[in-house]
Symmetry: C2
Subunit: 318 residues, 2 copies
Amino acid sequence: MSLMLGIDLGGTNLRAGLVKRDGHVVARASLPLADRTPTAVIRQIVETVRHLQSSSGERAAAIGVGVAGLVEPSSGTVLRSPNLPEWREVPLRDLLAREFNVPLALDNDANAQAVAEARLGAGRGHRHFVLLTLGSGVGGGLILEGKPFHGDRGFAGEVGHIVFDPEGPSCGCGGRGCWELYAASRAFALHASRLSGEEREDLLRAAGVDLADLTPKISARLAEEGNGAALALWEMFGRALGIGIATLVNALDVMTFLIGGGIARSFERFAGAARASALAHTYPCHAEHLLLKPAALGDDAGIIGAALQAFEGCGRSS
Amino acid sequence: MSLMLGIDLGGTNLRAGLVKRDGHVVARASLPLADRTPTAVIRQIVETVRHLQSSSGERAAAIGVGVAGLVEPSSGTVLRSPNLPEWREVPLRDLLAREFNVPLALDNDANAQAVAEARLGAGRGHRHFVLLTLGSGVGGGLILEGKPFHGDRGFAGEVGHIVFDPEGPSCGCGGRGCWELYAASRAFALHASRLSGEEREDLLRAAGVDLADLTPKISARLAEEGNGAALALWEMFGRALGIGIATLVNALDVMTFLIGGGIARSFERFAGAARASALAHTYPCHAEHLLLKPAALGDDAGIIGAALQAFEGCGRSS
């Protein structure tokens, strides 16, 4: 049985793996991006793929790539990537095709992860679900009718830019008050700024950082220690997360939300508040159906999903 | 070729029509609901259908019903209907089946209208679109991959309850600050309350009504007369409409929005502001693709769509 190569290009790390049809990762590599220019990243991808294939003695029949950013699958172009600022309309598929003589499939990283969760992870048995990846932003992958939903040009799932507060702070997308300002890593500083002065000062003293540097990781450590203000921050974070979930429930009647990304490690801290707040903003008939659960595949989801998309792409005539 | 019967049960009117496969309405009836209790409405439906069939000498091979409200197509139940407060979990399909010995299909009215627009109206040629019906609320019908998208239980498209302002006024759905409070008929009073005191008083004097009674119709008449405050109200309405559209664009990458419902008569008054505000809250790459256009089928959309769903239902084995 042939192997596929899955590549997960995040904003800070490159992961790659040789993956079997059943999702088993035969060999993997994970390394920080040394230089974020398109030329350097592409060189790093090429070297990583060659190294994986030569060291394992296996060759991939096709390559799937998931990229954190706005990806147009039809043309194989990365339009932009929030954490790779120099990437603007990079024809990544064509550039990789010069190096590898195999079929190449390109998609957004959250879509790839959602495919992996649908086939092998926490999405199995759900006809529809939304994967939310909570990290520096809120990424989203939509599985509708059992398949990734891409929309008109492949940008579906940019749920981090659901408008949370039309008058809110500016966002890198060009808009204002986007959901991810309230429900991803930068949200902790924002929510902390809304604590009372005393609570906030106690929190920052315990954290040992300035307000702007308050991260989910620090907030998780403080909550673990029983810090009341940190626990309140996770409540606020959960409530904001739930409001965007309510919008998706109302618009799509999708009841299953898988939560992935680094912040999902603190799932138990925010899931209750998120669910309660989502239900406070939807019809009561949704109450017994709404399901929030952690994604199952962890850091491997991106490479597995990209590889599965390569398998599925090879099954099509295109 | 056989005919289908399409029924459009709104909150105030009942429409019914005998419809051909090509969407041509052979005979139609439109009448106000005399009494809104389930028993009375069902009797009115039965009488209307019998009258249509006997006066035309035609019989329908199947019946499709679109209802303004939360409808569970699989069980044929109307869970609730905002303008028919006594309707709670009414098994409408079974109740009608006692009277008519033909297959019956039940769906939400906006979904039915979206199907009509997809096959015969302004949605033709669009693989994905959202129909927004602007009236007492914001109804929505999603056509994704060329088909109506229903979600887990058939409630997809309740876009009027996208959370617009988490701290906003209460909504009949149980939530707060829902989009339809800002972008449907009640929004005119709300937006007028935000005008300066003087502007508001001038507006209400010209309108000849109290603030709470300010309707889109009155606002349209005043705008027609060149009233500056009324023109400003339509701007505010358009901006609020655009913000919910931005949320849908970001989440779904659906670029085509058809605008129906009574307020769509003033399309030219608000469409520019809606488009500008949607683009201010989305990635710049959407600018040349976003399309807002009026729905094409007017008051017949509901009966045509319900009838087409009956045709399509009959083509299935279920």
